[in-house]
Amino acid sequence: MAASKGKGLGKRIETLDVVLLIFLTFWAIVIILPFLNVIGISFASEKEYYNSMLVLIPKEATLENYKALIRDGRIWIGYRTTLLLVLIGVSLNMFLTTSMAYGLSRPNLPFRRFFVYFIVFTMMFNGGIIPLYLLMKQLNLINTLWSVILATGLNSFYLIIMRNYFLSLPQSLVESAKLDGAREWRIMVSVILPISMPIIATLTLFYAVDRWNEWFLAMIFIRKRELLTLQLALRSIVMESQGSEHFSASQTELKKFSQGMKMAAVLMTMVPIMCVFPFLQKYFVKGILIGAIKG
């Protein structure tokens, strides 16, 4: 009897545990395998791809696909555009979000409720893409990066998360700073923002990922090849008709293994997200907790 109580876990291993383990691990493999396949193909040669269908670790790894991708040029255009978008976009995002969130967190601000409704209303109703497109047209922003940067200037949901964070800070900090003669801006910059680094880091990451993944607005607003965003560059590379490698073979010096190049492009688009993911991971559970309550 006592022996079946097991050790280590304090509880014995039941059939249920085995079933759970198998199922959960199976789903994890279902998620991981496609990524391994992408990485494998991106380093594989055309010959290897057609000989063995399930490429996970290529026997003779080659950088040819990446070279072809770089020669193609679209991926660089994408990187340049998207980096600009992230740099300018996230700065603007954080500026607008932080300033308004701080303002709305001040408890004795007259008309505070009005401003909160002003925000919440836009979360329930929006004009959608067509009026936005026509607005951009009238502002002469079509075919410029500014159309995308301004259209995504601020995320109301993130704004509310940040405001809730500010509200959770002890008010006594503000009061004591006031007694020392500090004014509002001063309090914000030297008292509140330094202790709000966790939320600032979180939202910066969230905004950065959003801008990195931008494609729809860019596709609608910007019809210029030189301003292709990274996601659209990837799209245009991947969506090129399957089997096109047979046709492009006529340009012998540009001969390339298109499936390999496509997967190299997928990987290059994904790498930055993979780099920030450990940080995202650290913060997102908190973020989602607030999110789960507010919907």
Partner: protein, 311 residues
Amino acid sequence: MRNSTVARGRRKLFIEVWKMKEVYILLIPAVVWYIIFAYIPIYGLTLAFKTYKANLGIFRSPWVGFENYKYVFRDPAFLESIWRTIVINAGRIVFQFPFPIILALMLNEVRVNRYKKVIQTIYTFPHFLSWVIVASIMINILNTKGMVNAIISMLGGEPVNFLGSTKLFKPLLYITENWKSAGWTMIIYLAAMAGIDTEQYEAAIIDGASRLQMMWYITLPGIKSTIEVLLILQIGNIMTQGFDQIFNLSNPATAKVGEILDMYIYRVTFLAAADFSYSTAVSLFRSVVNFIFLNVADRVSKLLGSEGLFA
């Protein structure tokens, strides 16, 4: 007498506002942004009742009443797209919605913390990738020479044309969406489960309940309100969900079965001869239907005895 108190009240308010002038200055940039990029487009929805003239702009284009809607409801492609949207998204509720709950219930039972963490990390990663990336990965593994077909033929089966099949398109949507974001939704449920009072489990153990019984009678009821909120949101999004996914996963062979309302709007706005009033009329219709769905779902959940979404 009354006037003077009103005047005093106004004066007091003015002083309050003046004292906070620095704070109001902080609000200005974002408020200006909201007015231009959120409220003007909302006003722009009036285009649904106008005829858009490029030279006159949104504001000065002439009103035509419900004229646009006469054409909207005569387009069979529009009516089909509505039906398709409802069918696809109702399917999501059946085939997609329960999956993260099952994952969360299972992971919640795992007692090895390190394993739990690794699994969570793996499951949540795809959520942060755009549909462009995820679709690229799916097209790679599902094409006729891809990994899935390689596995099928290793097991002795016939290769399947997953991407070009109109029959498999809906299952493809449900499975790939689960692949991408079930893990993320699972985290929400796990968080809700962490909030369940442990005393309930202790009492159940004393009563001799099995783990499956605890799952069914304690854990599941414990996350009931979370399930409801997410379900309401899912129903409320019935008209808008899935554009990114379908846009990136469909191809000429499957375009027809995937033309949900948003795809239809995209097509008539940006691919066909653009009639902006017409497509605004369609998208306004979509928003209204969405809003009705959201409210009905909320009302129903209240009737069933829960707090609902706007509690």
